[in-house]
């Protein structure tokens, strides 16, 4: 079984502890694993450490943890099938990193009312208002980081409203500080920032 770690540019130094299979435009870092390899917390964190090391060396598209192929023949086919798209994404995000902004105070949804309290129309209107409010906060966030922002994507989750921001690596500290200052001015938003991370949320072209 072959565990895939990351797509990287062709002809870069081999990431520590990994083998590399090159295509025409990109390469993929991989390691051979025993069938049934662990997928617990320690395995996820070990994977994360390697991805982090690769990201510190240069452009990277991290693979989702747990992505495996049967053998190198299958990996060659995979690279041939996807390398055009991967190469384009590496060019788009290669000099960037990701910040994740939590907006715990931003409206995510309207509490579900008892059916007798609201008509269907009222319920839908209240939902629409919540979406508008959330979108306004997102727009404000993007305006705050506009000088550095390459892309922004909302992230799924149940505990908080989260937005991933793609910014140049060399401006990450500045962008994060700007967002945190905005959060300090808007305590109602319950804002928190994590990162910089490798561009996990921007490995696929936006649809």
């Amino acid at each position: 079984m072959t565990m895939l770690y990351a797509v990287i540019p062709k002809d870069v130094a081999t990431p520590i502890g990994l083998d590399v299979l090159e295509g025409n435009a990109v390469a993929v870092g991989y390691s051979d694993e025993e069938p049934g390899a662990a997928s617990d917390r320690d395995a996820v964190l070990a994977f994360g450490r390697i991805v982090d090391q690769i990201a510190r060396q240069g452009p990277v598209l991290p693979m989702r943890f747990g992505t495996t192929v049967a053998d190198l023949t299958e990996l060659r086919l995979l690279i041939a099938e996807h390398e055009e798209a991967w190469s384009a994404r590496l060019s788009a995000v290669g000099d960037c990193c990701e910040l994740i902004v939590h907006l715990d105070g931003a409206p995510r949804s309207v509490p579900r009312p008892a059916l007798t309290e609201l008509s269907g129309r009222d319920y839908l209107m209240s939902r629409a208002e919540a979406v508008r409010s959330r979108d306004a906060v997102h727009d404000e966030l993007q305006a705050v980081v506009r000088p550095w922002l390459r892309e922004a994507r909302p992230l799924p989750g149940t505990r908080s409203d989260r937005v991933a921001l793609l910014v140049p690596r060399d401006a990450a500290a500045q962008a994060r500080a700007r967002v945190e200052r905005w959060g300090a001015d808007r305590p109602d938003l319950g804002l928190a920032v994590t990162g910089p991370w490798p561009p996990f949320s921007f490995c696929e072209a936006s649809t």
Partner: protein, 58 residues
Amino acid sequence: MSVQHIGAGEELALVDLVDRLIGGGVVINGDVVLSLAGVDLVYLGLRLVLAPANEVGR
């Protein structure tokens, strides 16, 4: 640093990291295997993934 002494910021960073490791990244459709759970399950299973944030070099 033990799990019990992780600060709120470190905990949040760790959750984001693990969430993105298993919920982000390059996704391959087809016969290759994508293991572990979706994002919501990561959050529900927060206690299962808590560990010192410095374990992952952040």
